[in-house]
């Protein structure tokens, strides 16, 4: 487009833009009049969400072994804190056949036995507790969890162990964590796991037979996750990291909430409300970033509302707007159940049809794009339709495949609560 054409175009649009600008901005601002606490990827919070945890020690998904290192830290340097955590299994699994790992994990129906459907169907939840001493940072490999009681010293310093024999290398011994033992975490391997981790800051568990502790009005937890793809076969060491999404408790007075049902709302909720929109800046799939580097992005979407331990899966409709560098807009829609991990081009196209997707550079014509995802609100907030997300970029240069993860942006505050109960 010539510059003159562009100016003319701008002139023709001016009146429309004026009114549209007023309207949209007014709406946006109405929704963005947010409270002090928020959904954040960088401030301590009382409720952490790690949208994407990947475990594939055998490389069944794409040939490269993958694992996720999870870090959680108690930022309160004076008091121990308890976190009650949930792994939610969002692995697509075959209705028929053993899939890629013998336990049904799959990418498409082709990974299943004839007639089998590959879908996220179980959303199984596993819970555990972390007891963090003041200021304690902890971490573990998702595939292995925490099944040991100490850490090696010497040349194996920091590797997990329960006894000296667990420590590789000669002369290394196992130093017991003792009072700093933060608990036992179930492993997600062997086999393939794709899912999320959610951790709630709870009170001291005064009734362990009644189940987990009750949420407390504190914001002391931060976390991040690093997803690895490592194989010496082709000298691959690929690491991507993102910050856990923190949903802050509205009050920080340290009191214990009334029950294990958490209300997420900017209008008097126990926690900050989930955003009205998720805004993602990305390169369009198959874009050439120069130097022979092509890129593709995956987005992972998880619901704000959860009925954990009730095996209840509810679905939300997501409206998606896509903008390119020509000020052109496209839209599509999709649904979200308990978990959705998808290449951008597969949000509107089936596998094999990516080149015709509105997320593909061959359709958009520019490298950079902006995508706005908005959940369609329904119901009374229990459950609500809020969403959280994280995005990964996969860069391919020749036969090298490297990746980076990054947090998305939030916009606005929806006038509907979300509820997390466990």
């Amino acid at each position: 487009m010539r510059k003159e054409d562009r100016d003319m175009d701008g002139q023709r649009k001016s009146r429309l833009v004026f009114s549209l600008g007023c309207l949209v901005t007014a709406l946006a601002l109405m929704s963005s009049a947010s409270v002090a606490q928020k959904v954040t990827s960088e401030e301590p919070a009382g409720y952490l969400v790690f949208p994407k945890i990947v475990v594939d020690p055998s490389g069944g998904l794409n040939g490269t072994p993958r694992d996720t290192v999870i870090r959680i830290t108690n930022t309160d340097g004076n008091n121990p804190r308890i976190a009650h955590c949930f792994y939610v299994d969002g692995t697509p699994r075959c209705s028929i056949g053993g899939g890629l790992d013998g336990f049904g994990a799959c990418r498409t129906n082709e990974d299943c036995a004839p007639g089998g459907i590959c879908a996220v169907r179980e959303c199984a939840v596993i819970n555990f507790d972390l007891t963090l001493t003041p200021g304690q940072p902890v971490g573990w490999r998702a595939s292995e969890g925490v099944t040991t009681t100490g850490l090696c010293d010497g040349t194996a310093a920091g590797l997990p162990c329960s006894s000296d024999s667990d420590c590789p290398g000669s002369g290394n011994s196992c130093v017991q964590l003792g009072a700093d033992d933060f608990g036992r975490v179930p492993p997600l391997g062997p086999g393939i796991f794709i899912g999320e981790l959610k951790c709630v800051q709870v009170d001291r568990t005064t009734n362990i037979t009644a189940g987990p502790g009750t949420p407390v009005n504190r914001n002391d937890l931060i976390g991040n996750a690093s997803i690895y793809a490592v194989t010496p076969a082709d000298s691959t060491v690929d690491v991507q990291s993102y910050n856990a999404i923190g949903v802050q408790a509205a009050s920080e007075d340290g009191t214990t909430q009334g029950d294990t049902s958490m209300n997420l709302s900017d209008s008097g909720g126990e926690y900050a409300g989930c955003p009205a929109q998720v805004v993602v800046n990305h390169f369009f799939d198959a874009a050439d970033l120069g130097g022979g580097r092509t890129v593709q992005s995956d987005i992972t979407l998880v619901p704000c509302s959860e009925q954990l331990e009730l095996n209840t899966v509810f679905s939300s409709v997501l409206q998606i707007l896509v903008f390119n560098e020509f000020e052109q807009r496209f839209s599509t829609s999709t649904t979200l159940g308990c978990y959705r991990e998808s290449r951008l081009s597969n949000l509107d196209r089936r596998p094999g049809q990516e080149s015709t997707s509105i997320f593909n550079v061959n359709v958009q014509g520019t490298l950079a794009g902006q995508t706005v995802i908005r959940p369609v609100l329904s119901g009374d907030g229990d459950p609500g339709n809020g969403i959280l997300a994280v995005v990964e970029e996969f860069h391919r240069t020749g036969n090298q495949r490297r990746s980076a993860a990054f947090n998305v942006h939030w916009r606005g505050s929806k006038n509907q609560a979300d509820t997390v109960s466990y």
């Binding site: 833009v17 949209v24 901005t25 009049a33 002090a36 694992d67 310093a157 991507q240 000020e327 916009r411």
Partner: protein, 346 residues
């Protein structure tokens, strides 16, 4: 051009009025996950192999004028070393995303081919960065006259690529929203003019030289894997008008999984890049016991950073196997508290 845009500006004015009215109702604190009026990219590098791809997007439905500054890190370690700044302007139409490679900048070339690297409305002339550049990028929403003008519609990302290995790291720009107040060239980050900066930074990291548990298991390691962390800090106090640069000290408290606390401090300048725990850093509190003088015996640690003047920052970790193959990942730092600062525009 500007006359032609007058219709737009009327809308923009109305929008801005609404924005300020809304902001006065209580805007969220600054951060890297919401649009704002000031964008800070603490880490922009261009070396022989590494380059940075910058993405900036106007998330609003009206045109957005942006005044940007490349801030080059000090060429010497002297405490009073200055940071050279180069500025340029962008014009982003409604909802327009844009991107450029730091090494190439971006030209105004309407005839770019469909799908080519510079296809799309050119936001303006963006200078390329020379090889060896290490510094930051700061962008501010302005109006067509170049005056600060808060729409809070800017968001940005930086992608650091290594064209030698193909590796990639990515982080979000730190955004501060306009809260209200005046429109002069002194941008007061005090909660009334613009949002404040964080008072404290939290870093989850692995000490310099610690083993990488995943590489040890999956990769080529044999207890020779190596994790290092590079921390880049940018002061919120930025004086582009007088070129005065901010110096100060960062106090830190490091804890490992055994709750062992280590404390100390280090200086920061107008732009600071530290390989935490490296021999050159002199910060053994960030070093693994695997190395001489190391203090931390665990792989997982956290550092609480409290500067004398507010900072924003980015951490980039490097994970290396015994053959030297390295994977990098960048993350935004966690923050808490608030502190006032000032950005002065020319």
């Amino acid at each position: 051009m500007r006359r032609k845009r007058s219709g737009w500006l009327a809308g923009v004015g109305f929008v801005a009025a609404l924005a300020l009215a809304a902001a006065s109702e209580g805007q969220t604190r600054s951060g890297s996950d919401r649009p704002g009026s000031i964008l800070m990219f603490p880490k922009v590098v261009r070396s022989a192999s590494r380059d940075t791809i910058v993405q900036i997007t106007n998330t609003g439905n009206s045109v957005n004028y942006v005044h940007c500054f490349y801030l080059e890190g000090p060429q010497s370690q002297a405490a009073n070393a200055a940071c050279q700044a180069v500025d340029f302007e962008l014009v982003l139409t409604r909802q327009q995303p844009t991107q450029w490679r730091a090494s190439q900048g971006r030209r105004v070339s309407p005839g770019d081919a469909f799908g080519s690297p510079q296809a799309g409305y050119d936001p303006g002339l963006i200078p390329p960065l020379p090889q060896g550049f290490e510094g930051a990028l700061v962008c501010v929403e302005v109006n067509s006259n170049g005056e600060p003008f808060g729409q809070n519609r800017l968001k940005g990302e930086a992608t650091i690529v290594d064209d030698g290995t193909g590796d990639v790291s990515k982080y979000n720009a730190f955004a501060l929203a306009k809260s209200g107040g005046d429109t002069d060239n002194n941008l007061n980050l005090d909660g009334s003019d613009y949002e404040t900066c964080p008072a404290t930074l939290h870093l989850n990291f692995s000490p310099w030289g610690s083993l990488d548990p995943v590489i040890e298991d999956f990769g080529n390691a044999n207890l020779n894997s190596f994790i290092s962390t590079n921390l880049v800090l940018l002061p919120c106090d930025l004086d582009f008008r007088n070129g005065t640069r901010t110096n100060g000290t960062v106090s830190f408290l490091v804890r490992d999984e055994f709750e062992s606390p280590f404390s100390g401090s280090f200086p920061f300048r107008c732009w600071t890049s530290i390989d935490l725990g490296s021999p050159s850093s002199g910060l053994s509190q960030f070093r693994s016991t695997l190395l001489t003088g190391g203090a931390i015996g665990t792989i997982f640690a956290q550092a609480q950073l409290t500067p004398t003047r507010p900072l924003v920052g980015v951490a980039e970790s490097f994970h290396t196997d015994q053959a030297g193959v390295t994977g990098a990942a960048a993350t935004n730092l966690h923050t808490s508290g608030s502190a006032n600062a000032t950005v002065r525009l020319p």
